[in-house]
């Protein structure tokens, strides 16, 4: 390991990691699905409900004021974390999935019409594929697919062939939840912007692991989920450039998103409130802001560097086991590692590992097109976070060898 980062300094902050599973210390390698929560975040949510709970933007009373202040402060914290110019660019949603659906509905339905084209890549999570399929079907647009290579990288040169003067949007993931691939976003954005095409970036896997600066990336939309970055479930973010937010239609109708209402008409609240109809996940937003404070305290740059080290170590370790095949070999990659071991089915393997206290994911990882491309039904995935240790990786490798013995009569 090249970095001096010490995960043991942070592990005590995560109460859940202290437990045993089937008599073995929990080894949590399912961070791409959701990460664990530090006590700080759990306490922030608890404190909110115990001390400040009220609805926001609606009450004159003290609690309402406190809740509103905390909610809007959370927006500022998030804006700062991703380098947004203004907190008006931060829309709270329930997660990356809802953020994408929001854009598909509020932006897509206004700007994409019959015959227009939307580009997504072949490595997208279903949440960055299905909303565009639905939109394309509804308005008569065409979904174009940027293919991937078998090593889990984009076939970048194919952009030339599928871009056209009808392309209205490129929606692409920053980091693959299957291969770990970090895509060349700067290159994609500048190519797209040269042609006046906006880019939606799925940051569900990148925002938790890499320092993100939307000013530098210059993407038009960025979506991510709180629960994959030490925050609670049920809260996520849509960041967008101001002009897009100003021009977009509302997403859902209801309270809070309006300015004035008559029986037959209404005008919309200013951004970002225009997109937040109904009572929002106030405690969730506060919890996410606390998670961000925590990640900033750990330091995002250190997290990235440590994870780079740990992922290299893990891959080398797994490759040293006879019968392990790893899917994805991008030059730039993060901590999601998909693999198979001999002909042991991922479900059987994941169940075996669970018996040893190790949590991994088995399945298609919400990316069935990738599985089809690789001609696989499923893979096992170990996904890392900064609280994982070299010792845990060694233990995983040990147990993979045990699994081979167990399943090979």
């Amino acid at each position: 390991m090249k970095t001096k980062f010490d995960p043991l300094k942070y592990r005590p902050d995560f109460p859940i990691l202290k437990q045993k599973i089937h008599g073995y210390p929990l080894v949590y390698f399912d961070n791409a699905a959701t990460t664990q929560k530090p006590k700080m975040v759990i306490d922030a949510i608890k404190n909110f409900y115990e001390r400040d709970n009220a609805n926001v933007h609606r009450a004159i009373h003290q609690l309402g004021e406190r809740a509103t202040e905390a909610y809007e402060k959370a927006r500022k914290t998030i804006a700062g974390f991703i380098g947004a110019e203004s907190e008006k660019q931060i829309v709270f949603t329930k997660g990356a999935t809802e953020s994408i659906n929001l854009v598909a509905s509020a932006w897509g339905r206004k700007y994409i019409s019959e015959g227009d084209e939307i580009i997504v890549s072949e490595m997208e999570h279903h949440s960055n594929l299905i909303p565009w399929q639905l939109l394309a079907k509804d308005v008569g647009a065409v979904l174009k697919i940027l293919p991937i290579n078998l090593d889990g990288t984009l076939v970048f040169n194919e952009f030339e062939h599928i871009l056209s003067n009808k392309t209205k949007l490129i929606a692409v993931t920053h980091m693959s939840n299957v291969f770990g691939t970090i895509n060349p976003i700067k290159k994609i954005v500048s190519m797209a912007h040269d042609r006046g095409i906006p880019v939606l970036l799925d940051g569900a896997q990148s925002v938790p692991h890499l320092p993100i600066d939307v000013g530098f990336l210059d993407c038009d939309f960025l979506v991510f989920s709180g629960h994959k970055m030490c925050g609670p479930t049920g809260i996520g973010v849509l960041y967008a450039k101001i002009n897009h937010l100003e021009n977009m239609n509302p997403y859902q109708g209801g309270g809070e998103m309006i300015s004035s209402v008559w029986l037959d008409n209404a005008t919309w609240n200013e951004i970002p409130h225009k997109f937040e109809a109904g009572t929002q996940n106030i405690a969730g937003a506060i919890g996410l802001a606390k998670a961000i404070e925590y990640l900033e305290y750990v330091n995002m740059r250190d997290i990235t560097l440590y994870e780079q080290d740990l992922v290299t170590y893990t891959i080398n370790k797994l490759m040293s086991i006879d019968g392990v095949v790893i899917y994805g070999n991008a030059p730039a990659r993060g901590g999601a590692i998909s693999f198979n071991l001999d002909d042991i089915h991922p479900h059987d393997l994941a169940h075996f590992l669970d018996q040893k206290g190790i949590a991994v994911r088995a399945g298609h990882h919400c990316a069935q097109p990738i599985m089809r491309k690789l001609n696989l039904a499923a893979t096992t995935r170990a996904s890392l976070y900064f609280y994982n240790t070299v010792e845990e990786v060694d233990y995983l490798a040990e147990q993979l060898v045990e699994a081979k013995k167990f399943f090979n009569l």
């Binding site: 991922p346 018996q355 039904a377 399943f407």
Partner: protein
């Protein structure tokens, strides 16, 4: 290793999953149905040749975990030559065993084979694996032709 887990992956189950019986396509099947578990991608096609109410031949192909494959294999081996009524009864017995409701109560060769799956009852998440092929079989003999998934009971 925990005894219950060994119980789940008994030798007979591992053996059937590695060398599944009747693992082939059947060109002259009278009944054919695909069963899928969309959550994990397990997918099998069950073929039946039913003549005069008797399962004259049964086979399967597809892929999935050891539990689902062994269960399909054992199913084909116990159902060959059985009547439709017997097949339905065995379905019920198998279902009772993997859900832990009750055992077959006798000690025939068939009972022993399906009793090997009793360990599944300790692991509710694996019940769908164990019953996938059986559900496809039962639906198929009842005339269903669209693929079945584990999401519908």
């Amino acid at each position: 290793m925990d005894a219950e887990f060994r119980e789940l992956y008994q030798e007979i189950i591992l053996e059937h999953s590695k060398s599944p019986r009747n693992f082939r396509r059947m060109e002259d099947a009278t009944h054919k149905l695909e069963g899928r578990n969309p959550l994990c991608g397990d997918q099998y096609t069950i073929y039946l040749k039913i003549e005069n109410g008797i399962i004259a031949d049964i086979s399967f192909e597809g892929s999935g975990c050891a539990i689902s494959k062994a269960s399909a294999s054992v199913m084909t081996s116990v159902l060959k030559g059985k009547s439709i009524a017997e097949a339905k009864k065995l379905f019920e017995q198998f279902h009772d065993i993997v859900t832990g409701v009750k055992t077959t109560g006798d000690d025939t060769d068939i009972s022993r084979k399906i009793a090997a799956f009793s360990g599944v009852a300790e692991y509710p998440v694996r019940i769908k694996c164990a019953t996938l092929a059986w559900h496809a079989m039962r639906n198929s003999i009842e005339g269903v032709t669209n693929s079945v998934t584990t999401e519908e009971k």
